[in-house]
Structure formats: structure tokens, C-alpha cells
């Protein structure tokens, strides 16, 4: 699912060791280095930009606010971060991470050439690249050009993304807190709609409530017409919408919680079908369950309604430091739920006229089944996530 990107992230992003201790990063770095050795890579370049920086945040905690940023990880020795912005801006950049060596990116090709030139003394550089899939063409060309004289690139997204899939106990705490904030936002949205607010006002009320509850970032899409798909809140139109379909995402200490909700004074046919389909999927959610298992569970409940276009490609995806992370539970794929993973599962039904609905749940998959972390409207246990982390 795509949300509207923001030009600059403004929330509280400084690294907070009380929430994510250094030991957590040390364990991650050790795992990354083990995986690196298995691939034959001599060094790792981790990329992130303000829209997508899950891999970079996993290793360093760093959130690039101004443009692309890279972490250079060798098999031994300190990690270096190269961040967009001038030398005078590194003071605030350093606050975002446990990594001590944060430098201006400058000319990416020249900066990296210098680093690779130092490394090549130990032999040809096999540069693992993580987060390269989302890198824009210009920096990718610069990286490729920089490495050309010293070695080559090995793209190792799949191997390293797998490290992020199983959440640590600390990560689970942060995800639970993100889910609590998501509930606060969702409640504010429902309350505003119940008080006859327009879609725009309701979305803004939800956004404010989430920030007040401790969110770093909030993204909301909402219907612009009765039963319309969730879309960015552009322009000043603020009409009442029923049903209102919304996609809400909040972030706490780097971790996203996201949910689909349908707010309606009445229980339309589409909402009943979508909720039944989601409940069916939740019953199937256990380690080893495949996308097609979940899809079959969903399909049993939807007819005669059609899949909502918002969810027609996938039944869900992993979630954590990225809004959408692996695995993508695509309808055409055979991705599996794994023990220790956190996922969003979603369903949506579209009938005639404005009779549309989208719903979702966030789950943590355990040894024998799954725990619902965030229930969508109408799902059991909705009010249970009310205790804050701090």
C-alpha cells in the first residue's frame, strides 16, 4: 500500500537508548556480519532515503531526513554513515544514531571511491548492497561507478531482509506501543465522524491524537466520497463521508503500525463480508500458513462482493521498520508466515454504489498460532491495547 510521502520528517527521531539499547544494535550488527561472510561480500553498503530506510535503521537507527544516506559496514571495525546535508548539519544527524562516525555524503561517487580505494589494499572489494532496490537511479549509478575500479556489487537484499523478519522482544514492545497509538488514532477518527466531522477534519483529528500519544510520524488516507477508496487528504474540501474508508499508519521509535478501517454508522454488507473474511484469515494465521491459505480463507467469505482494489494484490505483508517489509503476502505468491514475524493482514469488499469496506489486523505469529496486536473495527479485543509503554 502506498501512502503519501512527506517532504521532511519532523517528529522525535533522535536515538533513544532507553527504547532501543546499544546491545540491540550490536546483536543486529553481529548477525549482519555473519550473513555478509556467508555471501562472500567483503563490505556492505546499506542504503536508505526518507521514504524507505528500514535496512539502514535496522543496522544504525539512522533515519535519513534530507536525502539518501548510506552506512558502510566492513567485516570488522566501526560503522560509518554518510548522510545528506552539509558539514554544519551533521550535529543533528549524529543525534539519530548510535554510530559515532557520521559524515556528510558530499559527492557520493568520490566519497565512496575513496573508501573503496582504502579497502582494496586487502584485495578486490565485493560490495554487498542492502536497500538497493529502493535506491534512485542517480545514486545507484554513482555507487556502481565508484565500485567499478575496485570490485563489484552483490545485491543481498533477500538474505539480509530475512534477518529483519523475526522480531526481538524489544522490537515487540515497540510494535505494541505503535499499535496502542494506532488505536488512539483510530478512536479519534471514529469519534470525529460520530460527531459529524468531514473526512478531512476527522483525519486531522486522528493525526493530532496520534502525535499527542507519542507518534513520530502519522500518515492517513481517507475516502473523499461515500465509500470511496482511501486517498491523500489534499485540498480544503471537508465533506461528510459515509462509509469512510481509511488507511492509518503511525510510527513509534522507528516501528510502524498500520491499519485499514471502515467507519460507518450502519453495518453495510461489504463491511460484514470484509470482517468475516479477515476473521477467516486470522483463524488460518499460524507458522507455515501460506498466502494462498490466507487467500482461500478470505475468498470463502467475500462473494458476491469483489475484492476491494486497495487490497487486490496481496492479503498482507510484514511490517516493522518499514511500512511494507518482506514477506509480501501476494495473491500470486507462496510466501509463508514465520514464527516471530509481525504482519498486517487485510481484506476489503466492494459492492454496488458506496457499499465498500476495508479492514485489517496486525498479528504476531508465535509457535502455535498468532496474537492479534491491532484489531480493526468490529474485531474482537479492540479495546485491549490501551496500556502505554512509558
Amino acid at each position: 500500500m502506498r501512502m503519501r510521502n512527506t517532504a521532511l520528517l519532523t517528529g522525535p527521531y533522535d536515538w533513544d537508548a532507553a527504547l532501543l539499547p546499544l546491545a540491540e544494535f550490536e546483536a543486529r550488527l553481529a548477525a549482519v556480519r555473519r550473513a555478509l561472510a556467508e555471501t562472500g561480500a567483503t563490505a556492505l553498503l546499506v542504503h536508505g532515503h526518507s521514504m524507505e530506510h528500514g535496512a539502514l535503521a535496522y543496522v544504525t537507527g539512522f533515519v535519513p531526513k534530507l536525502g539518501p544516506a548510506f552506512a558502510l559496514v566492513q567485516r570488522e571495525g566501526p560503522v560509518r554513515i554518510f548522510a545528506s546535508g552539509g558539514p554544519g548539519m551533521m550535529r543533528s544527524a549524529k543525534l539519530l544514531t548510535w554510530v559515532e562516525d557520521v559524515r556528510p555524503l558530499g559527492n557520493l561517487r568520490n566519497t565512496l571511491s575513496e573508501c573503496f580505494g582504502d579497502m582494496v589494499r586487502d584485495g578486490r572489494v565485493a560490495l554487498g548492497l542492502w536497500g538497493g532496490r529502493t535506491m534512485a537511479q542517480r545514486p545507484y549509478v554513482a555507487v556502481a561507478s565508484a565500485i567499478q575500479s575496485f570490485g563489484g556489487i552483490i545485491e543481498i537484499d533477500d538474505k539480509l531482509d530475512a534477518l529483519r523478519r523475526s522480531k526481538s522482544p524489544r522490537e515487540m514492545e515497540l510494535l505494541r506501543e505503535a499499535c496502542r497509538i494506532l488505536s488512539v488514532a483510530c478512536d479519534a477518527l471514529e469519534r470525529a465522524i460520530a460527531e459529524d466531522s468531514g473526512a478531512r477534519s476527522a483525519a486531522l483529528a486522528a493525526e493530532r491524537a496520534a502525535f499527542a500519544a507519542g507518534a513520530q510520524d502519522v500518515r492517513i488516507l481517507a475516502s473523499a466520497r461515500d465509500g470511496g477508496p482511501p486517498l491523500p487528504i489534499d485540498g480544503s474540501s471537508d465533506i461528510r463521508v459515509a462509509p469512510l474508508l481509511a488507511c492509518l499508519a503511525v510510527r513509534f521509535s522507528g516501528y510502524w503500525a498500520a491499519g485499514l478501517a471502515t467507519v460507518s454508522g450502519t453495518q453495510g454488507g461489504a463491511l460484514a463480508r470484509a470482517e468475516a473474511a479477515l476473521a477467516g484469515m486470522l483463524r488460518e494465521a499460524r507458522p507455515g500458513a501460506t498466502s494462498s491459505d490466507l487467500l482461500r480463507a478470505e475468498e470463502r467469505h467475500l462473494p458476491p462482493y469483489k475484492f476491494h482494489p486497495l487490497v487486490e494484490n496481496a492479503v498482507g505483508n510484514g511490517i516493522g521498520l518499514s511500512f511494507e517489509e518482506s514477506p509480501n503476502l501476494g495473491r500470486e505468491e507462496e510466501a509463508r508466515l514465520e514464527e516471530g514475524g509481525v504482519y498486517t493482514l487485510h481484506s476489503g469488499a466492494m459492492g454496488k454504489g458506496s457499499d465498500s469496506a476495508v479492514v485489517s489486523a496486525m498479528i504476531a505469529v508465535s509457535g502455535t498460532g498468532s496474537e492479534v496486536l491491532w484489531p480493526a473495527a468490529g474485531q474482537p479485543g479492540k479495546k485491549e491495547n490501551s496500556k502505554g509503554l512509558r
Binding site: 502506498r2 510521502n5 519532523t10 517528529g11 548539519m89 543525534l95 535506491m135 487528504i233 489534499d234
Partner: protein, 372 residues
């Protein structure tokens, strides 16, 4: 100028450069100082990646992702048909196959900003396309339309209201990031759909930075650039606010930076190169003994164009010889580091008029004070 005139100017430029088909690319990530050719040609701000195909005969297609954004894309200004899809390259391949023989060559603009994997696939299906048309694309017509100018005026009003709000909420003990979040939320409530909002504070700022968790303290100099977008048009104002009474030295230095800004703004008129605006600002600061601070690493530019479509006329910089035209919009901001005070900010969005410049902000910069 209206939107149709922009498209006509683009078609004339395509004809003169013997381009039969233009492929404009967007990453879906819009910034105030970076161009987005899809927005420029269609007015549509995509959620995901998107393309506009514009043929020399004027027919066009807007291809957007994700598929569920179809309604919003269709409601935009795109002069041609709209395809909303989750398979961009598939849709693009089919459309390019349908285009058939074109007069002249194809050109791609904006490819540097889209994801590498998508760019490589685009290059694979349009292997002979020209990749050096970006500058010509924006030079074909860098003026804002009447509608964009209207949006810029509204965005400037929102920025100024945001500044008023800053005076309500910024005080010792409050975190920079909480002020920034509040200003963002407030400006969104006024109609802003995005904001590039830099805000930081310190007794001596080395540069303007994104907000941190630092708490504002008495004696700080708070610097900010408020950059709301209204219906896709960004505008920026830059301001300096002192927390507590300002020293005479700070006031003196701020007045210097303000004089430099006005020297730049008063230079603006159609027909001059942008570099002259930069030179006018630099001259004031150099005359006061700060010539070395008018060069990198202290200074890169004195302002910039404002997107998110075209950002013509580009940076207010010594090496930018873009000739100013009526109805171009950009921000003039000296934003100078001075060793005695640190980084000081003042900046106004301006529209080039027939005879000079109009500042879009109603109340221009001064050294503001938060009483503690």
C-alpha cells in the same frame, strides 16, 4: 499563462529538438526545490511512481501507480487519458508498443529520481531514448500558471499563519520536534498538503537543520524555514526568532542579512540572469567583511525555485545564468552563517512581475522575539 499554454510551449520545444515522444517520470516523492516532470505536465502528484507520455501531436497518457489512485489521477489536469495500474512497466510497455512510429526520437526526463530497478526496465524498453532533455524540458516554459500563482499565494498565507503559531508554542522547555509537529499539524489544518519544515535552535547555529529532540532554551536563536505546499505548490519563508531579548550585535548582524536579502529582491526583473540576484546579495555581505562566508562550505545558494512541478528558474546562485521571466516564482534567502552569531535566516517567496518582483508574503522578515 494557463496550463494549455505550457503544453503548447513544450510541444514547440519538442518539435524544435525533433522529439516525437516525451516520457516524463515521477518517483512520487516531491520536494520544494526538486522538479517533478509529471506534476509539471499533468498537475497530478502521484502516490507511487508515474509517467506521462506526451507525443508531439499533443496526445498524452498519464500512467500512475498504484491502481487504487485512479479516481484522483483522473480528476487532475492531465490533458489525455489516464491509466492506473499496479504494473507500471507492463502498462508502459503496452503503451509504447501502441505508439508505433514517431517523428524524431523519444526523450526521457526525470529518470534520475525513480528507483533504479524501474529506471533500468524503462531504459530496456526505450533503449534509444535521449536522456539529456531535462534542462530543455524546464526551460521550455518556467513560468507558473495563473492557477499555480494563486496556490502559491495561498501557501504563503499558510506559511505566515504557521509563523504566528510558532510564536504561540515555541518557548523554553519545549522540544524542537514538538514545535515542528505542531506547526505542521496547524498548517495542514489550514489546507497545506505537505511541508518541508526545518526548525532548530541553539545560541549559535552552524546551519539550519531538521528538528531534533533538543529542548529550546532561553537565549537560543531559533531558525526556521516554513515550506507548506498548497495543492501541490510549495512556498517558503525563512525566519529567525530569538528566545529572550536580542543582543545589539545580533540585531546588527540580522539587519545586515536583511539588507542583503532586499538588495537581491530589488534586483529582480525580467530579462536579467539569476546570477545577478545572487551577486547583489553577496555584494552587501562582502562589503561588510564576509566575502569568505559567501562561498562554500558556508554558502551554496541564496534561494531556489519552488516546485513541485518545475523549479525554474533554479537556484539563486552565482553560476545560474537562467534568464528571469515574468511569473517565475522562487524564494530569495541569504541565510548566512556569520562567525559572531551563527546561522541567520530570512527569506521571502517572490514572483517576477513585468517590472520587478512581488513578495508573496504579507509581512516580511524581521528579527522576531519570543518573550521569556
Amino acid at each position: 499563462m494557463d496550463f494549455d499554454a505550457r503544453i503548447e510551449a513544450m510541444l514547440r520545444r519538442m518539435a524544435s529538438d525533433e522529439i516525437g515522444l516525451l516520457i516524463a517520470c515521477s518517483s512520487g516523492f516531491q520536494m520544494p526545490d526538486r522538479p517533478d516532470p509529471v506534476v509539471h505536465l499533468s498537475g497530478y502528484r502521484s502516490l507511487g511512481e508515474s509517467f506521462v507520455l506526451l507525443r508531439r501531436d499533443g496526445t498524452s497518457k498519464l500512467i500512475v501507480s498504484p491502481a487504487y489512485d485512479a479516481e484522483r489521477a483522473s480528476a487532475g489536469r492531465s490533458p489525455g487519458a489516464v491509466i492506473a495500474t499496479n504494473d507500471l512497466i507492463g502498462a508502459l510497455s503496452r503503451e509504447l508498443a501502441n505508439v508505433g512510429k514517431i517523428p524524431g526520437c523519444a526523450a526521457i526526463v526525470g529518470i534520475d529520481a525513480i528507483p533504479h530497478f524501474l529506471a533500468e526496465r524503462l531504459l530496456a524498453i526505450s533503449e534509444d531514448a535521449m536522456l539529456s532533455f531535462d534542462d530543455a524540458f524546464y526551460n521550455a516554459n518556467g513560468r507558473k500558471t495563473a492557477a499555480e500563482i494563486g496556490k502559491a499565494r495561498r501557501a504563503a498565507e499558510i506559511a505566515e499563519r504557521g509563523l504566528e503559531r510558532l510564536h504561540d508554542v515555541a518557548r523554553p522547555g519545549v522540544r524542537e520536534c514538538d514545535v515542528a509537529v505542531e506547526l505542521n499539524s496547524y498548517m495542514r489544518s489550514l489546507g497545506a498538503d505537505d511541508n518541508f519544515l526545518m526548525l532548530c535552535s541553539s545560541p549559535h547555529n552552524p546551519a539550519v537543520m531538521p528538528s531534533s529532540n533538543r529542548k529550546i532554551e532561553s537565549g537560543d536563536i531559533l531558525i526556521t524555514e516554513l515550506t507548506p505546499s498548497y495543492e501541490g505548490q510549495f512556498v517558503q519563508i525563512c525566519r529567525t526568532v530569538v528566545v529572550g531579548p536580542p543582543s545589539a550585535l545580533l540585531q546588527e548582524k540580522y539587519d545586515l542579512v536583511l539588507r542583503a536579502m532586499w538588495a537581491g529582491i530589488e534586483t529582480i526583473r525580467p530579462g536579467i540572469p539569476m546570477s545577478r540576484v545572487c551577486a547583489a546579495i553577496d555584494e552587501v555581505l562582502a562589503a561588510a567583511g564576509y566575502a569568505e562566508y559567501c562561498r562554500p562550505p558556508h554558502m551554496r545558494r541564496r534561494g531556489h525555485g519552488l516546485g513541485c512541478g518545475s523549479v525554474a528558474p533554479g537556484d539563486v546562485a552565482a553560476n545560474n545564468d537562467t534568464v528571469l521571466e515574468e511569473d517565475m516564482i522562487f524564494v530569495v534567502h541569504p541565510n548566512q552563517y556569520l562567525p559572531e552569531t551563527g546561522y541567520l535566516m530570512c527569506g521571502e517567496p517572490v514572483r517576477v512581475t513585468a517590472t520587478g518582483a512581488e513578495t508573496l508574503s504579507a509581512r516580511t522578515a524581521d528579527l522576531a522575539i519570543i518573550n521569556t
